[in-house]
């Protein structure tokens, strides 16, 4: 099998994934669908420090077995990172979610995040590990530990050149606990098709499936994710 045939297989696989799963997912109770577009800016300095800024929005488009548009929040985020080794970074981040403007009964949320990231290229594949501790402050305070494993595969050749496509798949395990809630486990699976539009701009469109509280009261969510990422 030559590398070219990946081009034919993967979009086909993506389409099959969407078509097969969508109907079965919709039939489940406790299922919702959301859109989550994001714009992010990465600033890499010649030193070992780097900065990341993000702006995103989340809206429910399907819930309680009916299509319905319901804006959830607008989120601002910032991370400052320091390279601690050849392939590893530690980061400290803050996120602010504006929720109250959409739902009067909800409070805005502040999140403090400590992160460890490790990423490296092995021949064709880029492999990234990410571990996070989060403190979420809103009506309740929640603590969350999460780990994500990501793989990126170029769809033409051995690396992603300008205007070439790539595919990113990842899975993330999350463990949440708080003083007013039962600890819960969640697993997420994502797949996205990306393109290096320009040398420093990447765009991606993907799906993320979240299976939450699977040891208690399971629910599932399907996110349609899109991202524009600018690196300076």
């Amino acid at each position: 099998m030559t590398i070219l045939s990946f081009n034919k297989i993967i979009p086909g696989f993506l389409l099959a994934f969407v078509l097969l799963n969508f109907q079965t997912l919709k039939a489940q109770e406790n299922f919702s669908m959301l859109v989550d577009p994001e714009f992010s800016l990465n600033i890499d300095t010649p030193s070992r420090w780097s900065y990341n800024f993000g702006l995103s929005n989340r809206d429910i488009i399907y819930e309680n077995e009916a299509y319905n548009f319901d804006a959830q929040h607008i989120e601002l985020s910032h991370f400052t990172s320091y390279e601690i080794a050849f392939y590893s970074k530690v980061s400290l981040g803050i996120k602010y979610r504006f929720k109250e403007i959409f739902h009067k009964d909800q409070q805005d949320e502040v999140r403090i995040i400590q992160q460890f990231g490790n990423s490296r290229k092995f021949n064709l594949l880029k492999i990234a590990h990410r571990a996070r501790f989060e403190q979420r402050f809103s009506e309740n305070t929640t603590f969350r530990t999460r780990y994500r494993f990501s793989v990126e595969l170029p769809l033409s050749g051995q690396r992603v050149d300008q205007s070439e496509f790539f595919i990113v798949g990842n899975t993330e395990a999350l463990w949440s606990l708080g003083n007013k809630e039962r600890p819960s486990l969640e697993q997420r699976f994502s797949i996205a098709l990306g393109n290096d539009i320009w040398t420093n701009i990447k765009a991606s469109l993907g799906l993320q499936y979240r299976y939450d509280d699977y040891t208690g009261n399971p629910g599932s969510e399907l996110f349609i994710t899109s991202e524009i990422n600018l690196s300076l």
């Binding site: 070219l4 701009i201 690196s231």
Partner: protein, 195 residues
């Protein structure tokens, strides 16, 4: 509003500046897209070779071609110039496949000139230096039994730390493991994968 316009202007300028660099492109191709003069040698790749793949690469001016395959648990890369002229054969080695005196010389250089280092990849490079190598076949045969034939050079990819800065280099060492030259490689940012 005025600030936003200025911000967007700077953003666009930064993007356009990056555009001015020469556009490098590398992609997977089919066997019949390789230059015809390279096919003679491609046919000589052992039948036991696995994952035979073809690539073309351009830096905006010059075009080159590459055949990659796995043979005897090693990755081989045969590179051709624009008209299918053989440039070199590279074999990816693990530490143990490099004779100990040579790896000691390479590491002695790295230790001497850098605070810390991590070798990511070692390749034995076979160059067509003698008239015998000009057809390429002799060179290919030599590289296939790389354990018995010393290469022209060793090419390594190494991440180094100096004065607190982290950099990545491609370095060439001669057949005895003595440093020849180096070229800095841009370290990719993988931030979009970890945020």
């Amino acid at each position: 509003m005025k600030n936003l316009v200025i911000f967007i202007f700077f953003l666009i300028t930064a993007v356009l500046q990056a555009q001015e660099k020469k556009q490098e492109r590398e992609e997977g191709i089919e066997r019949d897209e390789m230059p015809s003069s390279a096919l003679f040698l491609i046919e000589k790749i052992p039948e036991k070779a696995k994952r035979v793949r073809f690539y073309s690469e351009t830096d905006g001016e010059n075009e080159s071609y590459e055949v990659k395959f796995n043979f005897n648990k090693s990755i081989f890369s045969v590179e051709f110039g624009e008209k299918g002229k053989l440039q070199d054969v590279e074999v990816t080695l693990n530490d143990k496949e490099v004779p100990s005196t040579i790896i000691e010389n390479i590491e002695a250089y790295l230790q001497e000139s850098h605070e810390r280092y991590k070798i990511e990849k070692i390749q034995a490079q076979y160059l067509p230096l003698t008239p015998k190598d000009s057809t390429g076949l002799h060179l290919l045969v030599r590289s296939l039994s790389f354990k018995n034939n010393a290469p022209s050079n060793y090419e390594i990819i190494v991440a180094v730390k100096n004065n607190g800065n982290l950099n990545k280099f491609e370095m060439i060492f001669d057949e005895n493991g003595h440093f020849q030259n180096k070229r800095e490689i841009i370290r990719n940012s993988y931030d979009y994968l970890i945020f």
